[in-house]
Each structure stands twice: as C-alpha cells, then as structure tokens.
C-alpha cells in the first residue's frame, strides 16, 4: 500500500460498520488425535461471491483446511448470508474482508472465489496477507493494488475459463501463470472437482511455507 493510497483512504468516510457473520473451524474442532494444530502454518480466511457467503464453505472447505493443521475461517461480507446489507461497493466489501482478517489470530492467507477474489485482491493491497489465492476471479479491477509485503499469489481458474479475457488479465496483473481445475467455476464447494481444487491450493500453501 502506498502512502498516497492510505492518505486518500483515511480522508474518505469509512464504510458503515456491519455485524459480520463468520464461520470457522480449528484443527482441534475435528476431535481427531491424528491432526495436530500447526503453529507455523498460516490461518486461512475464505470469501466468495456466492450469496450464501461464509456458509458455502461449511460443506467441505473449512474442515478440509483444518485437517491440514490450519485455522480455517470464512466471512460473509455485507449483503451475504447472515451479514446485513449495507451501503458500499467493492471498497466496502474489501473493508469487511480486512476487518475479518485482523480478527484471525495470526497473519492469514486470503482465498477469494469469484467476486470474492476481487475483494481479496483489494484487501491484499491494505493488509499484509501471508498469501493470496484467487479462484475463478470476477470483476477484479484492471490494475489491482500491489499486495502489501509481497505475498505469494496463486491464481486458479476452471478449465473452461483458461482462455477467458478476465482470467488472463488477472494473470498478467500479478505475473503468475494460472493453475487449472476440472469442473465449473460455480461448483467449487462440493464434489470431486472441489476436492481436487482444495488439494491443489493446500499443497501450494504447504510448499510456500518451506521456501
């Protein structure tokens, strides 16, 4: 985040605060002796453009992430799931995501799905994430802010989207080659395709830790 961007933000009215809905899962919540909380691994915070919000991640994602020893959380931004709607566009939703990120016990990895990827990209410009994962991004600004603290960035798109202009624009903006997953971009929350996608993300996160 540049100083100029901060000055601008500090002098514009802050979005109206809302009571946000969270869903979270700690490794201890699995009641499995085999699974140890890994204090070195960054926690994960997910968000999605799906109107269900945080609840969408309950089916598979949070448990699966917790199985890898990470604290897993998801947040519903304004207007999603159990979070009341409030004024504000992209910026206000990014604000919700940053506010959620600072409540996570340690420096978190942000995972954004669809429109959530745009919010995560903006949030990463204001908060030093441990990693930024964009899944099938939608409506990401043409020039997303440079992520604070230069975190590793992973872009994952569905096979059907690999040629789409949107995915390529995001890939160019971050200078990364997209990873592809089988299945449709809307169908990432359960099923075989979702498990493959999650495994890819988790192994990327685990590899990043070793570097």
């Amino acid at each position: 985040m540049s100083l100029a961007a901060w000055v601008r933000r500090a002098r514009t009215p802050a979005p109206a605060p809302v009571k946000r809905e969270y869903a979270f899962f700690e490794p201890a919540d699995l009641f499995d002796l085999e699974i140890k909380d890994d204090p070195e691994a960054s926690p994960v915070l997910c968000c999605t453009g799906d109107p269900a919000g945080a609840a969408a991640f309950n089916a598979l994602w949070l448990k699966r992430i917790a199985t890898s020893g990470r604290y897993a959380a998801a947040v519903s931004v304004r207007g999603q799931g159990g979070t009341p709607a409030a004024e504000g566009g992209l910026e206000a939703r990014a604000h919700d995501l940053v506010q959620a990120a600072v409540t996570v016990p340690r420096q978190a990895v942000l995972i954004g799905h669809k429109e959530g990827a745009a919010w995560a990209a903006l949030a990463a410009g204001r908060y030093p994430t441990a990693g930024l994962v964009l899944v099938s991004p939608r409506q990401v600004p043409k020039q997303p802010p440079r992520p604070v603290g230069a975190p590793p960035v992973l872009l994952v798109v569905a096979e059907s989207e690999t040629q789409s202009k949107e995915a390529q624009a995001v890939a160019d903006a971050y200078g990364t080659a997209p990873l592809t997953f089988a299945g449709s971009p809307d169908d990432v929350f359960k099923g075989a395709g979702a498990e493959g996608l999650l495994d890819a993300i988790l192994s990327w996160l685990a590899a990043g830790k070793k570097d």
Partner: protein, 450 residues
C-alpha cells in the same frame, strides 16, 4: 571491562536492533521483518505496549486516558482497529490493539523483555555494538548489529518545572504520570498545572471528582472539541486538506468559528493562526470552565508553605498539586552527538525526523508530534527505514544520492519557524511531513533493490 561477561561481542550479522517494544518499536519490528530483516527488540520493562500499558513502570497514563485523535487517523495503516470500536478508543483498548498486533504478526518471539540497553557504540564503520543489561541476573551481553533503531518514545521522562519554594511545599505534589487512580482527587482542592492535553484531561477529571479545581496555564492555546460538524475533528480537518488551497483557509475558519468563539468567551485566548501548533483536544473542558467547576488562573509564581501564589497576585491553598507539565525526550544509551543533540536542548536534530545525521544505520522512530495519530506516521517512517537499509545494502550509488535528498528535506524542514514553546520542538505539520515521507519512500522504492 570487568562488568562484561565476555570480551568478545556476539556478532548478529545483518540483524537489526530495535530499542523499545512500545507502539513504535512493535511497528518497527513488523516492518523490518516484512522486508526480510532479522530483528532483536529489547524492552527494559517486562511488558509490551510501552506507554499504553499501565503495568509499565514508566507509563504516563492518567485516570481515564483516551486517544485524542480519532480511530481512523490513529490506526496502523495495514492493521485497522475493529470498526465497531468507538471513535476515540480508551487506553485499555489501545493496549488490546497493540497486543493483538504483536500476536497477529508473531512479534513477541523477537522481543527480549527485561533487557535494558546500557550502551550503543558505533564500531567498524556502520555497525553497532550494543550492551544489553538484563534486569534480572548480572551478566551484561555484548552484541553487534548492522543497524540500530531507537523507538524509546518521548513520554517517559517527566518534565518537572522548578518554581520557587516547590521543594518546601507542604501539600502533596504529583506529576500527571503518578496520578494513577482518580480516587486520589476525590474531595480534594486540586491545582492542575499545565495547559496541554494531559492538563486539560486531568482538570476535567478533577472537575467531576474533586472538591474544587484550579487550572493554571502559562499561555493560551487552541482548544479543539473532539467533534466538529458531526465528524471527529481531526478527520474533518484532514479532509479539508484535499480542497484547493484558496478554499482551505476559508473552510477551516468556518469549521473553527464555533469553538473559537467559545474559547474567547471562556477567556481562553489563543495566539496565532488556528492549528499552527498542536491544539488541546478536549470537548468537555470548555463546559467545565463554563459551569465553574474549573477555574482558570495564570502562571504559578511561587509555592509558600501550604499556599500557592499566582503571577496575578491571587493565592490558593491546594491539597493536591498535579503537574501536568509533560515529558522531555531522553536518550540514555546513545551518544547524544550521534542524534544531533547539542547544547542544553534535549531535542535531537535528525534528518527527516528519523535518520541520524552522523551514522547511516542509526535511526529514531516515533519522535514526532504530527498533530494526527502518531502510529501511521511511525508505520511510514519504519517502512522508509527498512527500505533504506535494503537500498544501502544493495546499491551504494543510489544510497549516496538518497542521503543528499534526505539532507535537503531536512533543510526544508528546519526552514519552518519553530513553535513558540519548547514543548513544540517535536511538532511537525502532518501534511508537509507526510508529503516529505512520501517523497522519501518513492525514491527508495523507485527501482526494486537488486
């Protein structure tokens, strides 16, 4: 050299030493870590949070301390405060905030508590030898660091005025930092000396708790309520900075018309243009002056037995005198010359208010009073310092150019007329200082360090 456990200093290589684990120290550690530095932070107390932690033995907190700048102008830029907090969080909330910052970024593992730095000595060119004296145990350790960042703050060494007869005064005298418990004011006739933020806040506490409260101020100062036009006043004023220059003065005057008229009515005369120097930010003070629970007097002339005489000839007999006379910056471990401290003035002369004029790898974080929240300023300062250390390592030519630029920034800064009180030596114009910091950061970030 008997006091050292071993003659050879332990070399920490490229690691950076940060002195102090208060707000500035924590931000410095986090920003250096983010830029890939190894950091050792030494804190002489056993707790983090510096001035915001009441368990710190040098804590300046007085009863009911709250921020005087609003949340949005005070939070660390990349770690916002929870948005359901009040506009002006309390000292306890600030401590909770700093604690969660340290926990979130895993800073505690880099902090050595109970370790006072007794001496910092420049050795072979740009490196520093640091002597660490643990509070418990006896053996001092010597370590060598590539750079030292001093983040000891300037709110721990009380500035005690000298009045004739003060040492023979028969009532009790406390500095504002010793007044931990508001019950000490209850039922007393209280005299508060000092017209800064702490003086006004303590006078307001005394107005509701004490039997009577007299507030002695030496000179007028601008008083700003905590809200202006339905917005936190620092935010409302900062927003005007984005307006064109010819409108700005007009709009500022319009915004300050009400508070200025009230101050004039209460006999709180202020000199100079509004906001030329750090105003007193307190919304309740004027109301207490208005309902007579705070009586304003001029300067104290002398203390005499149980009595206090004022310069205007009046006298009073206080049970308790609170000296809210502020703090002096104090550097215990570093040679004052390295920070440009000369003569009797305790105030250092630094390049861009952070770089030592003599040593390239010595910097001070948080030694400014910008009139807005200090935390974001410290964030950008330490951001600049971390980038400077990177550039210095990788590209000596650019580093030399940068030194020249910083020196010219420093000259522009001193060209500004200094505040009329010694207290305002650390004051900077937030707008100008941020612009100068922005130029410094832009130069340092221009091309990525190779």
């Amino acid at each position: 050299m008997q006091e050292y456990s071993s003659q050879a200093a332990y070399d920490r290589g490229e690691a950076v030493c940060v002195i102090g684990a208060g707000a500035s120290g924590l931000i410095a550690v986090k920003n250096l870590r983010e830029n890939g530095f190894e950091v050792d932070c030494y804190e002489r107390d056993t707790v983090l949070g510096g001035l915001w932690n009441p368990q710190n033995q040098h804590s300046p907190l007085y009863p009911n301390t709250h921020l005087v700048t609003s949340r949005s102008q005070t939070e660390i830029p990349d770690f916002p405060m929870p948005d359901d907090w009040p506009d002006y969080p309390s000292a306890a909330q600030m401590l909770a905030y700093l604690t969660s910052y340290a926990k979130h970024f895993g800073l505690s593992e880099h902090i050595w508590y109970g370790s006072e730095i007794s001496h910092v000595e420049p050795v072979d060119g740009s490196r520093f030898e640091v002597v660490v004296k643990p509070a418990a145990g006896n053996a001092a350790r010597r370590l060598r660091y590539a750079a030292v960042i001093i983040a000891t703050g300037h709110h721990w060494s009380p500035n005690l005025p000298s009045y004739p007869g003060l040492d023979q005064f028969r009532g009790s005298v406390l500095h504002s930092s010793q007044l931990k418990d508001p019950s000490r004011l209850r039922g007393k006739h209280v005299l508060v000396v000092g017209g800064g933020n702490s003086g006004a806040d303590i006078a307001c506490e005394a107005a509701v708790n004490a039997a009577s409260c007299v507030h002695s101020v030496r000179r007028g100062s601008w008083h700003l309520p905590k809200y202006l036009g339905g917005e936190p006043s620092d935010y409302a004023l900062a927003r005007l900075a984005s307006r064109p220059k010819f409108l700005r003065r007009f709009l500022t005057d319009r915004l300050l018309k009400g508070p200025a008229a009230l101050a004039a009515r209460m006999g709180v005369a202020a000199e100079g243009r509004p906001l030329e120097e750090e105003p007193v930010r307190n919304g309740r003070y004027m109301e207490h002056v208005g309902d007579g629970s705070i009586q304003r007097r001029g300067e104290v002339a002398r203390f005499d037995g149980f009595d206090v005489a004022f310069a205007d000839g009046t006298e009073m007999r206080p049970d308790l005198v609170v000296l809210a006379t502020g703090y002096r910056p104090k550097f215990t471990s570093v040679d004052p010359k390295l920070l440009g401290i000369e003569g009797d003035s305790p105030y250092p002369k630094l390049y861009a208010r952070m770089f030592s004029p003599h040593k390239e790898t010595l910097a001070v974080a948080g030694l400014v009073e910008p009139g807005v929240g200090v935390l974001p300023i410290v964030h950008w300062q330490t951001h600049a310092i971390a980038h400077w250390l990177l550039v210095r390592k990788s590209d000596p030519e650019r580093a030399a150019n940068f030194r020249v630029q910083v020196r010219s920034e420093a000259e522009q800064d001193t060209a500004r007329p200094a505040g009329s009180s010694p207290r305002h030596q650390l004051a900077v114009d937030a707008e100008q200082y941020l612009a100068s910091l922005g130029r410094i950061i832009d130069t340092l970030e221009q091309e990525p360090a190779k």
